[in-house]
Each structure stands twice: as C-alpha cells, then as structure tokens.
C-alpha cells in the first residue's frame, strides 16, 4: 500500500505543471484556513477610506473597495466560501452521479434507459439558467447555491460511472460474489465501486473547478448569499467603478482564475497519474 502511494506520488510529481497547481491549491487552502488569524475582524466591516489602490497603504495591501472595506480580508474570507461551495457542490454532484450511473449500469434494461434519459434531460437544460431559477425560487442561501451547482454538474460523473460499471459488472469476481449470494447493494458498493472509483475521483476534482466558476457567476450577478464575503460578489460590487478603480474587479478575478487554474492542473495531473492509458489524450 505504501509502495503504491509512493509510486503514485512519483508519477504525479513527474508532471511539473501539476506540482505547481498543487502548490497553488495549498496556498489558497492555507489562506482560507488562516483567514480568522490574519484578519480577526469581520471582513465586511468598513475599515478605512474608500477606493485606496493596492500597494499604496501598507495596512491595506490590496486596497479598499467602494465602501472602504479591506479587499485583502474579503479575498481571504472569500477563499473559504469559494472552496467550501466548490467542495460541497462537487461532493453532491459525485453522490448523485455515482448513484445514478451505478444503478443504470448495474441493473441495465429499462432502468438504464430511463436513468440515461433523465441524465440527458439535465444535460439539455441550460445549466446556469437552471441554477439561477433554483436560487431565485428557494432563496439566496449558501446551501441552496451549493445544491443547485451540484444538481447541474453531476451528469458527466454519472456517464463515467456508468461506463466503468458496465466494464466491471460481468467480470468474474462479480459473478463469484453473486454465486456466494451477496446482495446487489453490497456487490455495487463493496465490490464494484472501489474498482470504478479512481477515474471518477479525477473527474470530481475537475468538477470542483467548474463549481467555483459557477459560484462566482451566481454571486457576481448578486444572487449569492449576501451575508458571506465572496469573490464573485466583490467583482459584481466593483463593476460600477471600472472607470476609476478597476482594481476592485481585477484582484478577486485573479484570485478566481488562479484557484480554477490550480484545480485544473491538479486534476490533469491526477488523471495522468491514475489513468496512464489516457495520458496522450
């Protein structure tokens, strides 16, 4: 087991871009975790003169926004929101995707047909429009945004899980389990799923990046939770001042871009390390 882990780490480390991505992810997670120590006061509190440019006043290294709130503090707390929503949404999507994909492939027949039509339905609905509809109907709460993003991002995971289960379900070890009289649920969860999981995990890590982009778009439009600091919201608030203080938009946008970039690089690296067959794609 340890050997396997070391082998995996070596293969991952061979990809230099993935290492840079991992480093960036660690930095972002570090900032998110350290936010309460770095900035002990409420980040949405007004601290100084509005519209101070970055690198001018050392007390506010990234400047202040139109209301005089510290941008650095909002970025740090925004990292918490963004990562939390990204992780939870990806987890929701993975749970839905695995359940539907595994059930469809394992039972086959009309169940498969029906569940795949269901998946197609969610691929057809324009995803951001659906998220906005759900948020507008249920209300602007961080939980609803998370669930809504999870609901629109599970379809690729379901398709991949289905393909993996299809390939595994008639293998000899599964037939042996059936002959032993194991229940369907136990075969699916205990025997097939662990074998099907690696590529699914890679895809889930890429879904986090997509979820971060969705969340930023929702809060940019002003439909996120108004009580938490968020990168997208900061861009949305700063939009009215682009003639004088465009840095208010630029800084959080860079934060989103770096985070998404890092997550994508790590996902690609995981893909290379876990599925050597697919490396050339």
């Amino acid at each position: 087991m340890l050997n396997l882990a070391i082998d995996f780490a070596r293969r991952f480390a061979r990809n230099r871009a993935a290492l840079i991505g991992l480093l960036l992810v660690i930095v972002v997670v570090g900032v998110a975790l350290a936010a309460p120590w770095l900035f002990p006061r409420n980040p949405l509190r007004i601290v100084g003169r509005p519209e101070i440019w970055p690198f001018v006043n050392s007390r506010y290294p990234l400047g202040t926004d139109s209301l005089g709130r510290d941008i650095a503090a909002m970025i740090a707390y925004g990292a918490r929101t963004t990562l939390l929503i990204g992780l939870c949404a990806s987890l929701t999507a993975t749970l839905i995707g695995i359940t539907i994909g595994a059930t469809a492939a394992y039972f086959g027949g009309w169940i498969d047909e029906m569940l795949m039509r269901f998946t197609e339905l969610f691929q057809t609905i324009p995803n951001l429009i659906f998220v906005l509809t759900i948020v507008s109907i249920l209300g602007q709460k961080i939980e609803y945004v998370t669930v809504a993003v999870g609901i629109v991002t599970w379809t690729p995971i379901a398709r991949l899980t289905r393909a993996e289960f299809m390939a595994l379900r008639d293998r000899e070890f599964v037939q042996a389990c059936r002959a032993m009289g194991m229940g369907n649920l136990r075969i699916m969860l205990g025997e097939i799923l662990p074998n099907a999981l690696p590529p699914v995990i890679v895809l889930s890590s890429l879904v986090i990046a997509g979820a971060v982009l969705f969340e930023s778009a929702v809060s940019f439009l002003g439909l996120g939770d108004p009580n938490v600091s968020s990168w997208g919201r900061l861009i949305g608030d700063g939009r009215t001042l682009i003639r004088t203080s465009w840095y208010i938009c630029a800084v959080p946008g860079l934060a989103i871009m770096i985070t998404v970039l890092a997550l994508n690089l790590v996902g690609d690296g995981l893909n290379d390390a876990l599925n050597p067959k697919l490396r050339d794609r």
């Binding site: 951001l128 659906f130 682009i242 630029a250």
Partner: protein
Amino acid sequence: MNRIVLRRLAQVIPLVLAVIVLNFVLIHLAPGSLFDVMTAEQQISDPAMLDQLRHTYGVDQPTWVQLAKYIWSVMRLDLGFSYRQNAPVLNVIMDQLPATVILMLAATSVALLVGVTAGVLASVRVNTIWDNLISLAAVFFFAAPSFWLGIMMTVLFAVKLGWFPVGGIRTIGAGNGPFADALDVMHHLVLPATALGLFYAATYARVMRASMLEVFRLDFVRTARAKGLSPARVVLAHVMRNALLPIVTLLGLQLGTILGGSVVIEAVFSWPGIGSLLFDSVMSRNFPMVLGVLVLGSLLVAVANATVDLLYLRLDPRIRAR
C-alpha cells in the same frame, strides 16, 4: 435519411415534456404557493382579480389536474402573463431572443475560429515555442471567468482606449439604413462575443491539437504526402477536415453552457437578450418569466442539439450505415 431526421426530432418531444414537469415541480417547491408570491409581489389585492387569477392558474384544483393543465397550456405556447412588462411571457421572450441568438452565434464563431486556428497551429509546430505559448494561453482562458474577462476587456478596450462601446446593442439615435445598423450592431458585438467565446476557444484549441496529432499519424496522410501534395494542402484539406469531428461533438454538448454563459455576459454588457430578461425577472421575482425562459431555453438547446447530430450525419457518412 428523412426517417433518421424525423426520429431525431421526435426525441426532442419527451425532453421538452420532462422540462415542463420539472418546472411544475419547481413551482411547488417554492416556499408558500407561487400564487401567493405572484400576487404579493405584483401587489394585486382586488378580490375579483384574485378570483380570476386563481381560475387562470387553476390553484383551486387537485395537483394532477394542475399538472395536466400546465402541460397543455405550455404546449399551446401559453407561458402565462407578465405584469411587469404588461404582455404575454412568450411575446416578451420572443422579442429578446434574437439578440441572444446573435450573441451565441457570434461567440461560437469566435470560439471556432480562434480555437481551431490555434489548435492547427499548435499541432503543425508541435513542441515548439508556438505550441507552448498556445497551450499556456489555453490553460489561462480555460480558468478565467467569462464575466471577469468581459469587465477587464471593457476597462482596456472601451474605457482606456475607446475602441469599442461599453455596452448595449446599438448607438442611440444612429439610425441610417440597414447596412449602417448592422455594422453598428457588429461593433457592439465584438467585446461580448470575444469574452464569451474565448473560454470555449481554449477547449477547442486543446481538443483540436490532440485530434490533429492523432490524424497526422494515419496512413492516408502519408499517402497524401507521397502523392506530392503541398504541406499546406495536406494540413488543410486532409488532416483538418478529419480532425474537426470531435469539435462538432463538443459544440453540440456545450450549447447549453453557452446559453448559460450568455446570461452573465449579457448582464456585463447590458445586451438586451433573454439573459438580461432572466436576470431582471429573477431580481423582481417574476416567476412566470423565469420559468418561461427555462422552458424556451431548454427547447432551443434541444433543437440545436438535434441539428448538430444531423450535421454530424452529413460530415461523417459512416454513422449513417449503423
């Protein structure tokens, strides 16, 4: 051939039905009844009006009757009435739809043009500085949120340099002839279409590069070279044509996301399409309008998907045999 077309189009119908049912479920998920929200938001208090509304929306009937009625009315393209615009929902959406379709088409063209060119260039000059630069640019544009890109482009090209307008679709009061009008719209279209298209261009560039490299290895390319065709002709007429198929697949899959992305871009550039309409309706809790946009948007994507599938049939005759 006709039978395949009909069968593919027939598959759209259950999808649209399912979207309508989903809509209905969403209405019932809303806290309190949608009816309360609608009447409260639009401040309708006249009892006669309330009774009439209750009857039009059929709130006094059992759920399954309501569902059947809802499906029936949507099938007749009756999506309800919007008091905010004082017009039927369908008419309002149809007024705004052309602007969105123009934006989507322009963004897709930008994405295809930039993405395919970059991918071909990267594959022809594989593992050179060009290839690396293109890959780097693709990674960056793949990570940048389109609305942020739009704002940054506005800052540079509209505010600082003044080359393009900040937003809107037409210059106010500049009406002289359809040709000048079209030019004016295109001038306004450049920034939003580029901001929306660059994300997809990044995907296409990556896919195109991989797919070109795959085709380069095939035997028929060697034959083409052996015949003495010029390198440019081999690349453009033989390799590129065959490498384009995955792009078409991707295009079909991404239509829904492009429509979603145009919502945000429309908000950035105050482009008067269904995105702005949706945003405005979500903000004012105008639910018939929100659900109408959802149904028509899904219909648009479903039909476009079917079209892409049929296009595929023309591009790759091997599929027809199956």
